[in-house]
Amino acid sequence: MEIKVLKNILDVNDQIALQNRNLLKEKNIMMINVWASPGAGKTTLMLRTAEALKGKARMAVIEGDVASSIDTETLAQAGVTAIQINTDGGCHLNAGMINSALQNLPLDEIDVIFIENIGNLICPGSFDLGEYKRIIIASTPEGDDKPHKYPLMFTVADACIVHKIDLIPYVNFDIDGFTRTVSGMNGKIEIFKISSTNGDGVETWADWVLKQLDNYRK
């Protein structure tokens, strides 16, 4: 006997993601899922974002790494509320891991949560975590061909950050070609050009985050 199922394979994950989304809505907290390769500068961007949001929105970071708490310690030293998830070899975060992290964060004292997903441009794209927006960071030393090689995440992200733009004179990165490709493959994506080293573009990015928070709370 054949039975039609037509169910998303990650049905359980999606149900927990929905619980996360409902909990965050109740607490009025916006959550952003951050995707990138290892070394794209996720944590440094989080530090600059926290500085730019100071006095405007209270921010926390859920830090996903295969091992170590290096990034959480870096953020904590800078005064950013952060919680570490170690996946012990796992290549992505799932909604259950985020649910546990949310239970351990002071939710009444937070406006925006950033999830630093595992550095990987494939696996994290399959897992809904209950976020409001998804962003992808592409740093210039990685090369401008990443959207061609890993299209899925670029086609579904809400915003793309071209990071380390101060290095463009030293690396082979065609920023106009990259921007054309990414905006072509994803008609609704917003692109930000940022250097966390010299601060270029950080204010514009932080303004976008605040605008999303306003929209989320409307």
């Binding site: 054949e2 039975i3 037509l6 169910k7 394979i9 992505h92 299209p151 899925l152 072509g184 493959m185």
Partner: protein, 113 residues
């Protein structure tokens, strides 16, 4: 390697559906797998065999209905293959390309006794 978690979830959904139907045996599962879904069929099949051991799904067959990536030019409406043309329309050379198929990852059906 996220196929491990994908397959664990797949096996749970398939066994739940089989139990709901009071089945004695899960004989096969058909999965719709988009070319761009990020999951590799060989890995899913490998984990599927391991994870169905000692369940009513032991020995069940896993079938994949693969969906190729498809895309369309938003400017002129032509069907394009982004893999061949680097996300540029062959006809009008626009780079405004929308992926219309290839992200699928769901269980279509199961066969039970």
């Amino acid at each position: 390697m996220h196929e491990l978690e994908i397959t664990r979830s797949l096996v749970n959904v398939a066994l739940d559906e089989a139990k709901k139907a009071n089945a004695r045996k899960l004989k096969s599962v058909t999965v719709v797998l988009g070319e761009m879904s990020g999951a590799v069929d060989d890995s899913v099949a490998f984990y599927f065999e391991l994870m169905t051991k000692d369940t009513i799904g032991e020995g069940a067959k896993i079938n994949f209905r693969k969906v190729p990536m498809q895309a369309q030019c938003r400017n002129c409406g032509s069907t394009v293959n982004p893999k061949d043309i680097f996300w540029e329309c062959e006809k009008c050379h626009s780079m405004d390309i929308e992926m219309t198929a290839g992200k699928e990852l769901y269980i279509e059906s199961i066969e039970v006794d």
